[in-house]
């Protein structure tokens, strides 16, 4: 009789412990990553500039977002050839916060640095000023189209 009594008590304790640990919590592991992200866009559409001897300006804006540091914006002509002698087109970008602009820079088919020192920035509506300048040596009646590409690079 005594042995039976002890066996039943033991079973009761095990049953209680199992139920007390019922799943009132649940855990998920979430894996996260943030990669380098650099993006620049230009707003306002195409620019048409007519210039006699002298200068004419046009304005646009750009937006830039990067989670990187020490970024640079370059600009170059990517469709079309360099402008003929006597005709230049410069671009002048307003720098994002804490970055530096190189001011008006002549555009050619070679990438030129326009803005330096960009870091962890997310801004829009930053100014772009195009200035077309012709001298007396520029060919009259010249007309051409160029594509200007801006790139943000490490």
């Amino acid at each position: 009789m005594k042995r039976v009594h002890h066996l039943l008590v033991t079973v009761a304790l095990l049953g209680g412990a199992g139920a007390a640990s019922a799943q009132t919590t649940a855990t998920q592991n979430v894996t996260i990553t943030v990669t380098e992200v650099d993006i620049i866009t230009v707003a306002g559409g195409d620019v048409a500039i007519s210039v006699g001897v002298g200068s004419t300006q046009a304005a646009r804006t750009y937006s830039v977002t990067t989670n990187g540091t020490a970024r640079t914006i370059t600009g170059q002509i990517t469709t079309g050839v360099n402008f003929p002698t006597g005709l230049t087109l410069t671009t002048n970008l307003v720098a994002p916060t804490n970055a530096s602009s190189n001011g008006a820079v002549a555009l050619t088919t070679t990438a030129a640095t326009l803005v330096t020192g960009i870091a962890n920035v997310d801004q829009s509506g930053l100014g772009i000023t195009y200035t077309a300048t012709a001298t007396a040596s520029a060919p009259t009646g010249a007309q051409g189209q160029r594509t200007i590409t801006y790139t943000i690079v490490p």
Binding site: L8, A12, L13, G16, T31, T33, V37, S63, T65
Partner: protein, 148 residues
């Protein structure tokens, strides 16, 4: 013979008492990896969403709620939000930013019983000031507690 009878009664009470107050919570597994890798210029980094997992909760008491917390803080500038589909009749709380402090993710559930296969949606976003974040994991602990 008298002693044996008493022991059997005690056994039944011990087994049934925990079930009367025990809430059961489970999740379907871990969500897919969340990677922030794109942006909209001037509008910040694009958040990413995962809604691949679910949870089930069985309540045995009324007005139990679910809270959630991280066991380890996120890197600075990184935001992880979670949204749990509430059981029927429970008001949705929307996206809740996870921290190391418990926050309500499901409000008091008035109806006792099973509430099965409800969606869990994670949203990961980051400020540009966060820089890059190497792949890392964070445990999210969901708990059933008495409301409200």
């Amino acid at each position: 013979m008298q002693r044996i009878e008493h022991c059997v009664v005690a056994l039944l009470l011990t087994l049934s008492a925990p079930f009367a107050g025990a809430q059961v919570l489970s999740v379907s597994g871990n969500p897919s990896s969340l990677t922030v890798s794109t942006a909209t210029a001037g509008l910040g980094l694009d958040p990413v969403v995962d809604a691949s997992t679910t949870y089930s909760v069985t309540t045995t008491l009324p007005n139990q709620k679910i809270v959630a917390r991280l066991t380890t803080a996120l890197p600075s500038g990184v935001i992880l939000k979670v949204r749990l589909q509430p059981p029927s009749g429970v008001t949705a709380l929307g996206d809740i930013s996870l921290t190391t402090t418990n926050a309500d993710v499901v409000g008091p559930i008035p109806v006792i019983g099973p509430h099965l296969t409800l969606s869990i949606t994670y949203t990961l976003s980051a400020l540009v000031t966060a820089g890059t974040v190497s792949t890392t994991g964070r445990d999210v602990v969901f708990s059933v507690v008495a409301g409200p």
